[in-house]
């Protein structure tokens, strides 16, 4: 089994799906000849040619709208938005069209597209290369949203997304594109959408998180273990639909929960998960539901400012400390 980075796993996933299914085509800015600004599509243009790997004009609305049309006529397009920060012009097409085509036609038409977008802070990207956009989309019935944190999941979820008959927003955390290595099998495997993974079993506190923060949560758990606090880390992997059962099982076991994300706190999906837990698992709570999240500001450039805004391992440790002692 090979050790791959997340971006390599994505690239492999795209290549394998394109070989397996002639209907898979890619559209996006700079994805063809250039191989993508993060190299996620490197080599695909050479292998599959300009008909299947399209360098589009700078037009996010058009990229997604064209992908939708191609899906209506039988293809399985994977559109790339170069940075999630630029996805907003395409919101109309994603939310009003892609997410609703199946429902509004009573199942007559579907929209099996994948929209890939790099997201997340920690790369000196400031306001417009650091955003976490998942909260906007997790609110949309008909859409699916996934955020893999490991190379294994990156490839497995990408395959699942391509094969899914619903529109899937596939969010790639740019900070860990190359920083996380993991074993990725050569076999044709799929990670199912809507299923979380318990990355570390624990007894005292559940930490629910996703994306790059999974790794910081594991770091925090290691540190806390030396103090006798046993932390369970749940990697959601999918944000819409999200795995209510796994989260519920974890909370009923530990009775204390911390939800972590790098998105800013107000209106982040931590609020949705917290509300679910409070509503459905009230009698299993031995302490308040705590959220660790970014401050409610845009993401600033200066490292001193960004560190003050974006949560990290020590914030998770602090939150667990307080909750464990409650």
């Amino acid at each position: 089994m090979a050790l791959k980075t997340i971006v390599e796993a994505i690239r492999d996933g795209l290549a394998e799906e394109m070989r397996r299914d002639w209907r898979v085509i890619l559209l996006g800015e700079d994805i063809g000849v250039h191989g993508g600004v993060f190299r996620a599509t490197d080599g695909l243009y050479a292998e599959f040619g300009p008909e299947r790997v399209l360098d589009t004009p700078l037009a996010e609305l058009g990229i997604v709208g064209t992908a939708i049309g191609a899906a209506l006529n039988g293809l399985r397009p994977v559109a790339e938005i170069q940075f999630a920060d630029y996805i907003y012009p395409a919101m109309d097409q994603i939310i009003n069209e892609a997410a609703k085509i199946r429902y509004r036609t009573n199942g007559g038409f579907g929209c099996p597209i994948v929209i890939r977008a790099p997201y997340g802070p920690g790369v000196h990207g400031a306001l417009y290369h650091s955003q976490s956009v998942e909260a906007f989309f997790c609110h949309v019935p008909g859409l699916k949203v996934v955020t893999p944190a490991t190379p294994y999941d990156a490839k497995g979820l990408l395959k699942a997304a391509v094969r899914d008959d619903d529109p899937v927003l596939y969010l790639e955390h740019k900070r860990i594109y190359r920083r996380v290595r993991g074993e990725v099998p050569d076999t044709d495997y799929v990670v199912p959408i809507g299923v979380a993974e318990v990355r570390r079993a624990g007894q005292h506190v559940s930490v629910i998180t996703y994306g790059a923060m999974v790794h910081q949560a594991l770091e925090a758990a290691e540190q806390l273990a030396t103090e006798g606090i046993s932390v369970e880390v749940v990697d959601l992997r999918s944000l819409l639909p999200w795995d209510q059962e796994t989260v519920a099982a974890s909370v009923t076991k530990t009775n204390k929960v911390v939800i972590c994300h790098e998105d800013n706190k107000t209106g982040g999906i931590g609020a949705e998960i917290a509300a679910f837990i409070a509503e459905e698992l009230f009698e299993d709570l031995d302490g308040p539901i705590v959220r660790v999240a970014a401050l409610d500001t845009p993401v600033p450039f200066s490292p001193a400012l960004e560190e003050a805004v974006i949560p990290s391992t020590r914030h998770i440790v602090d939150a667990v400390h307080r909750l464990a002692a409650y």
Partner: protein, 436 residues
């Protein structure tokens, strides 16, 4: 001002001490020279008087922990006299500190008293704790909270439940146990250094066909209880084979009439229970309780009867079995088992067992190795009755045979006594005299 309390040096060559029990909690008022903790050392056990009067700020070392002499173990905010309790903590939803990234629950005010202090102070507890209290019919005012601000935590409730099972009639917690007794190993509170489970490496994804089931509170309680027994009691095991042909014949004869007359079923369990009671009278050590420096003999025989439920196990208690005749036993068994299955047992129904009987034969078992419940010295099983060919007077005969197995606490009795106990049961069953 905040005064540090340090581990005393209790004896010339003693270099460390163990916190046996904290007698005060954060927020409690302590007088000068009033005991604040029980300290245990190799040589001497003593109470630690507080050097100052004031309000306890923090306990820095958990119960059961051993620290070097001179190490700070608590802090007390020195004060002239008890001030009125500080403003109550923020209401059950803690406010998030707006500025701190990843905000934290607001710490309750130091003046919040623990639930045990009485005097009309609010008992702080979570939804989980309240649910557990309701399920197990616990009066929360009886529990000392060790959580933040004297809050009752899940672990406090579980510890209380465990201790309640150990005690005979429920003893109010106000009565301090003897200083010499080291608190039994209970579920450790989270910040205990020694008890941390080994760090688990990030798990691989679940293999196909695997799924995780959450544990019910009953399952968890059973697990904790039996694990503790397993860890603390050196158990041994023995069995005898009993020819119950006479008993079987008798029962077949009188079964119908019994049911008609008494209104309950005459099971094999009833005469078995009666025989066990007689054997326990003969060998009272098996009805005793191990207490590190003593054995506590018990005249009353309260038999725990294990009843299997759909998703677990419960052990209602047939109290004062030594006073009952066969009909009385049969009636009591029918009642307990019915109520166990209906889930309508009361608290006193499940408390105070001195010895336990398990009818494993009901599942077809012919041998089993039962686990001794906490606070008892033995458990006996009645295995399935099976017809077998045996040698009787140098000829082959078909007889009804039943194994009786016994797990016993080897600290309390040795194999010979255990064997004789079983022989007593065997003798009485084989020589069963119909009472009517």
């Amino acid at each position: 001002m905040s005064v540090p309390i340090r581990m005393p040096q209790l004896g010339e060559s003693v270099v460390e001490g163990t916190i046996g029990r904290w007698l005060k909690q954060p927020g409690d008022w302590v007088e000068k020279d009033e005991p604040i903790a029980e300290i245990i050392t190799d040589k001497v056990n003593a109470e630690l008087p507080s050097p100052v009067a004031g309000r306890v700020e923090a306990l820095l070392v958990p119960e059961g922990a051993t620290v070097p002499a001179g190490q700070e173990i608590a802090r007390v905010a020195e004060a002239a006299e008890p001030a009125p309790a500080g403003p109550p903590a923020a209401a059950s939803a803690p406010a998030e500190a707006a500025a701190a990234p990843g905000g934290a629950p607001v710490e309750p005010a130091a003046g919040e008293a623990p639930s045990r202090a009485g005097g009309g102070r609010r008992i702080r507890s979570s939804p989980l704790v309240r649910r557990l209290a309701e399920e197990h019919q616990i009066d929360l005012t009886q529990i000392r909270g060790t959580g933040l601000g004297g809050r009752i935590t899940k672990d406090d409730v579980l510890k209380y439940l465990a201790e309640r099972e150990r005690a005979a009639p429920a003893v109010p917690l106000e009565k301090p146990p003897e200083i010499a007794r080291v608190p039994a190993a209970a579920v450790p509170p989270p910040p205990t250094a020694a008890a941390a489970p080994p760090p688990v490496l990030p798990s691989a994804p679940l293999a196909p066909g695997e799924e995780r089931l959450p544990l019910s509170p009953m399952r968890r309680t059973i697990a904790e209880h039996l694990t503790r027994t397993h860890q603390t009691v050196p158990a041994a095991w023995t069995m005898v084979e009993v020819d119950v042909t006479a008993l079987v014949r008798w029962r077949e004869q009188v079964r119908e009439e019994f049911r008609r007359r008494e209104g309950v079923e005459l099971t094999y369990l009833a005469p078995f229970v009666q025989v066990v009671v007689e054997a326990l009278k003969e060998f009272p050590l098996l009805n005793a309780r191990w207490e590190d420096e003593h054995l506590v003999l018990r005249r009353n025989i309260h038999l725990g009867i294990a009843v299997a439920l759909e998703d677990g196990l419960i052990v209602p208690v047939l109290h004062h079995a030594e006073e009952r005749n066969l009909v009385g036993i049969a009636r009591a068994l029918a009642d307990l088992i019915a109520r166990a299955r209906a889930g309508t047992l009361t608290l006193s129904d499940v408390q105070g067992a001195t010895f336990t009987v398990n009818n494993t034969g009901a599942f077809g078992s012919i041998v089993s190795v039962p686990i001794i419940p906490q606070g008892q010295s033995g458990i006996v099983t009645m295995e399935a009755i099976v017809k077998r060919p045996v040698v009787v007077d140098d000829a082959i005969a078909i007889r009804s045979l039943m194994n009786v197995c016994l797990s016993f606490d080897h600290r309390v009795v040795d194999g010979a006594v255990a064997g004789r106990f079983l022989q007593s049961i065997k003798r009485r069953l084989e020589g069963f005299q119909p009472p009517f």
